[in-house]
Amino acid sequence: MKYVALLAFCAGLILAAMARAQESSPSGADKYALPPVSLVPITPGGGTPIEGKSKIGEEYEKSPEHIQAGKLLFSAMNCSGCHSSGGGGMGLNLMLPTKVYGSSIENLAATIAEGRPNGMPSFRGFIPMEQIWELAAYVKTLSVNPTDK
């Protein structure tokens, strides 16, 4: 298990370099691109906020393989360093169903990619977008099926 995590970590570093290269060539990256997505349920003038559903999000959050991959990345990319086993610490509590920056898989992927002002780093370019979606799929399970750690 630990070697899997270590391998995932090393692979992550290589993929990080690839991801940075990818940023400059949009072809092929579109499948994993973040959809426009609102953070709030209110909008002025009687409009409807963008729910921002995505095909990839829908696919990954139902996929045990991608969720499992996300779980390994959660340790290997050191998400656990701040969010512990999901309950939080330096980072926010991920076991709460309502999250400050949105609870949909699209919101979660956006949070990981862009970072957030009060201490969440931006992982765009450090982790490939495909793996960010896997992480988001795993993080979603932490509040949907919370377990004691």
Partner: protein, 601 residues
């Protein structure tokens, strides 16, 4: 009251205390604070530790063991913050100064008007700094000198603010949040300089201490705690007492290749200064990562204590409390400077209750350990070898990769964390607010990613022997044992102050501010504040000539992160495993920073 040691010595102590009106008489030849602490400024409180010897003793005695029961709230002030309030209020002239946890606002309160707000200074720290601080976003206070209030911000600036106007006098950038560095310690005043250091022992920083000129904010020196001697400021003046501290570039050779570059060793706790010896004393944090299997070697110069020349930074000696630290036993706790007879010889000593569970008495001229006695049940080591100075680890409690080792005591926050002790000139006792925590741990592989935690362990903490998670102990320094102790349900995460009125004050994490008899430990008075207390009490004379006692209430810190950080109690590993021991804290307290000031009406 905890019946700590019901052997003959305990009964003798109780008997003696009951016969004599004061403990001071019993120990007339005992330790005294150095003469350089003799000043007539007890009206004010200008630095968190009261004086550069860090005794936290006040000669004020209007409030005493007889009348403290009549103490009432004089005024309060909301800091507008929801994070752990570990700071000490300062009093200079007719003004009180309070530094908040992030966002590190400095408030000046007018003591002639019941603490009315005079002005505020906002250093505007980067919000991102909150994501780089290991254990809540605390600040341990400021220092007054040269007409300025000087303190550190979470995003790595040391700032100086004109104490009259609230205008910024200078600001100096000291570190990089992107590398995991933050600043939380209170600066120490050393003549015309202040000592500051970084936090980030859990972030794989390369830790340092530095001195700044109080007039200009210019960095006079900076000494790293890992790496080659030239970076550590080790030169010809360096004369450590023990052989294990001797050799060239030990800050490189006691680490696996290059891992000293992110080996932790930060400086975030307390420091003291001896103007006679012209030495500054400050401790160094744990090495990184916590996973000790990844860093074979002594990991110099972490988990130990420096004595340095404050003018040049050049090291005089170093002592490593916990060589090759296995358990996050930072060496940053307070060092109290005293003069005492030791086996018939007068010695300039320092007294230090360490995370590893021992109260050290050391010769502060040479760095020799004179005694090291346990103040909590310890399973991680059997003692300190006074010949070699080395901590004697217990092999069975050595953490392992992928395998859980249980019931290691003390836990990572130690038998005592940052919460500073006080020494009474009258009772001659050391008053130690501390923890009683043990833990289970498993080491995990971890790679270093700059700006993120570098820990590599899975920790579950729990209460130590007896089930109480905290204790307030009165300690006999010469004999190395407890005189009495008060059990507390939660870790006693507040500092303490003791006065010539034979009263000591401390707070609890469920919000009680307590006054106890400094001789007997009897509870004399308590007041329930709005939130849990992890601050540092201080006492002063107001403009009306009356004695006041002040404390910040506001739960948080590492122990209170479960409340201040809204951490999920279902995850025992959260907050580096502290949540497992604090699952009931959210049931008894909520966040919110408030200053409380008390007086006898």
């Amino acid at each position: 009251m905890m019946e700590w040691n019901k052997g003959p010595a305990w009964y003798a102590a109780v008997f003696t205390a009951s016969l004599l009106t004061s403990w001071a008489f019993f120990s007339a030849q005992a330790q005294t604070p150095p003469t350089f602490t003799n000043t007539n400024d007890d009206k004010e409180w200008t630095m968190p530790a009261k004086n550069v010897a860090s005794t936290r003793y006040s000669s004020l005695d209007q409030i005493n063991s007889k009348n403290v029961k009549d103490l009432k709230v004089a005024f309060t002030f909301s800091t507008g913050t929801e994070k752990g309030a570990e700071g000490a209020p300062l009093v200079i002239g007719d003004t009180m100064y309070v530094v908040t946890p992030y966002p590190n606002i400095l408030f000046a309160l007018d003591l002639t008007k019941n603490g009315a707000l005079k002005w505020r200074y906002d250093p505007k720290p980067s919000p991102a700094a909150q994501g780089e601080a290991c254990c809540d976003v605390v600040n341990r206070g400021a220092v007054f000198t040269d007409g300025k209030i000087i303190y550190n911000t979470l995003d790595d600036y040391t700032v100086a603010v004109d104490a009259n106007t609230g205008k910024e006098a200078w600001r100096t950038k000291m570190g990089e949040i992107n590398k995991g560095e933050t600043m939380t310690m209170a600066p120490l005043l050393m003549k015309d300089k202040v000592l500051v250091g970084d936090s980030g022992g859990e972030m794989g920083v390369r830790g340092w201490g530095a001195a700044l000129d109080v007039k200009t904010g210019k960095i006079v020196w900076r000494a790293y705690n890992t790496g080659p001697d030239k970076d550590v400021l080790i030169g010809s003046d360096f004369k450590p007492f023990y052989d294990s501290e001797k050799g060239k570039d030990l800050g490189v050779s006691t680490w696996p290749a290059d891992s000293w570059q992110h080996g932790g060793g930060s400086v975030w706790g307390w420091a003291s200064y001896d103007p006679d010896l012209n030495l500054v004393y400050y401790g160094v944090s744990n090495p990184g990562p916590w996973n000790s299997s990844l860093r074979p070697g002594d990991n110099k110069w972490t988990a130990g204590l420096w004595a340095r020349n404050p003018d040049t930074g050049q090291a005089r000696w170093f002592y490593q409390y916990s060589p090759h630290d296995l358990y996050d036993y930072d060496g940053v706790n307070e060092v109290i400077l005293l003069d005492m007879d030791w086996q018939g010889q007068p010695r300039k000593v320092l007294v230090h209750p360490d995370r590893n569970g021992y109260v050290y008495v050391m010769d502060r001229t040479t760095g020799e350990v004179l005694s090291a006695n346990p103040f909590q049940d310890i399973t991680s080591s059997t003692g300190v070898d006074l010949k070699t100075g080395r901590l004697q680890y217990v092999a069975a409690k050595q953490p392992k990769v992928g395998e859980t080792v249980t019931d290691i005591c003390p836990a990572p926050p130690g038998a005592k964390d940052w919460q500073p002790s006080a020494f009474s000139n009258k009772s001659k006792l050391l008053y130690i607010p501390h923890n009683n925590l043990c833990f289970d741990t498993k080491e995990l592989d971890v790679g270093y990613i700059e700006g993120t935690p570098y820990v590599g362990t899975e920790v579950h903490m729990h209460a130590g022997h007896g089930g109480n998670r905290g204790e307030y102990a009165a300690w006999d320094i010469a004999n190395g044992k407890k005189v009495w102790a008060i059990q507390e349900n939660f870790p006693v995460w507040s500092g303490t102050v003791v006065t010539a009125g034979d009263v000591a004050f401390y707070g609890t994490m469920d919000g009680w501010f307590k006054a106890i008899d400094a001789n007997s430990g009897d509870l004399l008075w308590q007041f329930k504040t709005g939130s849990g207390i992890i601050g540092q009490p201080v006492t002063y004379l107001g403009p009306d000539g009356k004695q006041y006692v002040a404390i910040l209430s506001g739960v948080g810190g590492w122990s209170g992160a479960i409340v201040a950080g809204q951490i999920d109690r279902r995850d025992g590993t959260a907050a580096l495993g502290f949540v497992n021991a604090m699952k009931d804290l959210p049931d008894v307290t909520t966040t919110g920073g408030t200053l409380y000031v008390f007086a006898i009406p």
